[in-house]
Amino acid sequence: MKKLMNSPDALVDEMLAGLVAAHPSLLQEERVIRRAGGTKRGKVGIVSGGGSGHLPLFIGYVGDGPLDACAIGDVFAGPSVDSCIQAIRAANGGAGVLRLYGNYGGDRMNFDLAGEMVDVDHIQTTTVLGTDDIASAAPDDSVKRRGVAGIIYAYKIAGAKADAGAGLAEVTATAQAAVNACRTIGLALSPCQIPGAAKPTFELGADEIEMGIHGEPGIWRDKLRPADDVADEMVRRLLADPVAHKSERVSVLVNSLGATPLEELFIVYRRVAALLKREGLTIVRPLVGHYVTSMEMAGLSISMIHLDAERERLLAAPCACPFWRV
């Protein structure tokens, strides 16, 4: 697996430097990226973060709308507690800060620690964890589930709520409801390699696929089948997973994990759209592209979020960050 880089240890900082050079709407402060404009006084701040290697997550969603700041760790490693503190402070506009990030051990310990430490600054914080990956735990153990691509819906929806002037408790409740209404399933075709590692993280045979991944080996291994078969199984599993408040209106994200090209995403989206239509569901504002990746990994994920009237409105609200514009 060839990578264009200078050294594994410089990768994250050089990537951040390039990113802010290309996007003047963002500011870098060490391992924190914040909006150049800062958080509007009185607006609830939203902060996220996690390991590097998932661009455009998280940084690409910092901007007018979704996130106010994010804390970045090394590749696939959570942000340090220092970065979390710095990001919470950067996102603070005086009305409290929602920590909205994926449910991973390292990230949680560090954001929690950071929350305790900024208490001293009298910044009120709340937490909502992304837990959309249905492959990572059974439905009755859903608090153990990890957050994957579906979290961008929570970013967008909570961000629009905060923009509209809601208070911290309301923004937090809206984010939690968005997470609760969202499910994701992933599929790997080929692995990625941690910069500095001697070989790819896992191996897959020439005719093998894995379900339920995110830079790691998958939960079920299977044979590569026609795209429609694969889409059928993924959608079936998504629909079978219980959701408390279902809706007839959903949004769908067909997301490349990295190397899988748009051509294949659209072939899969075509099938997903047909299947959901057959179920009587209406797709609103579908997203197809590279939204949450694991470097050069091949594969894709499908996320579905049930939309009540408010979530649909918030999803449609204007936003402008480097990788999402409405």
Binding site: V75, S83, L113, K144
Partner: protein, 200 residues
């Protein structure tokens, strides 16, 4: 005999051990996680070794410097637990220039408890915490470097063996359930490699 703040040597050994074990630990983590344990530890102990203050005799200050380097250097699960360990040791050894070999076991037990409080692991989940628990117990009655070193070596081997055929119950590895049976937990493996190197 006692352990003093002449810790550069230990830190340098830990750094070398982490570098040597990098690929092995990545591979172990690649089987039930995201394959980064080795890269992370190599980087972390590089930062720790660089952070140790020259000429400092206060053990608490030494560990405090290590904790700071960790806190700004990583946020991975294991890395954060190393930060917790360093903070715990810093607090426990503050103002002291040496600790006796017989204090090592209780100190590690303290570290174990703090890690459990922060990370939520229980004993038996097959994490680094189980390894620290085993070593803490093994060191309870030791009086000399030699005794400590031997007891620790024995404990890590036995503990790896004892847990290998049990499933992981926490973190990313939890998802793989029965597929982790027969595999070493990367965090337990990492602690064992570091300990053996530092104890050498």
């Amino acid at each position: 005999m006692a352990i003093t703040a002449n810790e550069e040597r230990h830190a340098a050994r830990a750094r070398e051990a982490a570098t040597l074990a990098q690929d092995e630990l990545n591979t172990a983590d690649g089987k039930m996680g995201d394959g980064d344990t080795g890269v992370m530890l190599r980087r972390l102990f590089g930062a720790v070794a660089a952070a140790i203050p020259d000429q400092e005799t206060d053990l608490g200050s030494v560990f405090q410097a290590c904790a700071k380097a960790c806190a700004s250097g990583t946020g991975s699960s294991l890395g954060t637990l190393v930060t917790v360990a360093m903070m715990t040791l810093a607090k426990a050894t503050k103002g002291r220039s040496q600790i006796g070999w017989d204090e090592l076991g209780p100190l590690l037990a303290l570290v174990r408890d703090q890690m459990m409080a922060r990370g939520g692991a229980k004993l038996g989940d097959k994490t680094v915490v189980d390894m620290i628990d085993a070593v803490a117990n093994a060191l309870v009655d030791v009086r000399t470097r030699k005794e400590a070193s031997e007891a620790a070596r024995k404990a890590v081997i036995e503990t790896l063996d004892a847990f290998r055929d049990r499933p992981n119950r926490l973190g990313r590895a939890r998802m793989f359930g029965e597929r982790t049976v027969g595999l070493d937990d990367p965090g337990m493996l990492a602690f064992s490699r570091l300990l053996v190197a530092v104890a050498a």
